[in-house]
Symmetry: D2
Subunit: 136 residues, 4 copies
């Protein structure tokens, strides 16, 4: 298990453009926050699909790293998204990830995305990550 500080430092270094904040990590869980800025919005004022997708990917990645450590190189193999309702343009976007399976070669997790303070999710994702075999 990693500290929030370690994960935030990792994300700042690996995803400098994403401006993500790791709010919480726990056993097989992670919560990520993003302050929505102009470049995340589409005309009309809703949060873009790619912003939601990159949040989901990052939340899964944080939860995976928290289980297997920062050294291992987990690779996303699949991501499945369902878009449920329009996110608010004036609230942070929150991604809550929960890992469903942590195997030796495969990790599967799900993510619910919320506009901060709202109860209904705006999107849901399921992702799988391949864990490369440990080299002796």
């Amino acid at each position: 298990m990693l500290s929030i500080e370690e994960l935030n430092a990792f994300f700042d270094r690996e995803f400098p453009h994403a401006q993500l904040i790791v709010d919480e990590v726990g056993e097989k869980t992670a919560t990520i926050r993003k302050v929505i800025g102009p470049s995340d919005l589409r005309p009309g004022g809703t949060v873009s699909g790619p912003t939601m997708m990159s949040m989901a990917d990052a939340a899964l990645y944080a939860a995976v790293l928290n289980e297997i450590g920062l050294v291992a190189l987990a690779v996303t193999t699949s991501l499945n998204f369902n878009f449920l309702s329009k996110p608010s343009s004036d609230r942070d976007l929150i991604a809550k990830c929960s890992l469903i399976k942590v195997g030796q070669t495969l990790v599967v997790g799900e993510v619910s995305l919320y506009s901060d303070g709202k109860e209904e999710p705006v999107a849901h994702a399921v992702g799988t990550y391949a864990i490369p075999p440990v080299r002796p």
Copy 2:
């Protein structure tokens, strides 16, 4: 059917940050190109997942708009991605979309992503779009 100029003008206006070029549109097809820049790369030099996902979304969107027109408001309802191999960091990313079904309320399409000039796809996606009912 729209012209490439109309679609490019639409993308420039709707997705000003994405820097996408519509290369081709045809019957139920669209091809999109993106020049990969530093903000699309991850440390180590591979193209980021979110860059690939936003390309796939945009190619589907171009093909959908080409079928139903720019006025209608198509909404992405689901996207399923499989990441197949590492894209080249020094080649344009190409997304080729082909619509599988164009119904009155639902459009389904698939996208293959390539590093320009390479034969093997780097990612594959299937997306569904809801078409809102026409208001009289």
Copy 3:
């Protein structure tokens, strides 16, 4: 909301070959059970993929019907499965469904499948159902 008896009668009539038992229904939830028989097994003694997929579909369907009523004709539009571990051949298969979104035209739900009595899920699914517009 329907009673378990109503749902079981519906499944017996609509899916006579599936031999499913509705164990529980609640607000946006449903639990389905299936006694695993020889025709559900693959050589080697594990439960077949199609048996797991039909269980997930049925659990989603039960939860959807419980929200919208038996009259409405919900149509599955997409299903996404992740297979996590081998189910036991000598235990009932349990599918627990929870609806994520109940909209006017679209319902999205997730399902976890278990071998009865085991803690770790053997499969996970997310499904979407289209609800046809009410005719006046």
Copy 4:
């Protein structure tokens, strides 16, 4: 590469209840046929979702086995389905699979399902298979 006879013998042995016919196999492709019988139908006369899902799974499996051989134990890790239109109850169901990637540890393929003789697909699926490491 296997012969159609080898694959049909394999399916008869492994999936005796499925009554599937391998029509064609080629380089990274396979076509499967199923005569639709009463147990494949739902009240109202359409082909059931589980029948379509098991067809897609089998077509992927045939294409995978044709690449890696009957000995290797490929395991389905994920399947994503989109249901496009109602299949005919009085026509054979045809599943055409094409592999997108054949890697050392992962195979990804797509399948289109048709009612025999119709041009528009009734369903589309993408599946991933894990290939266990070869034991020396």
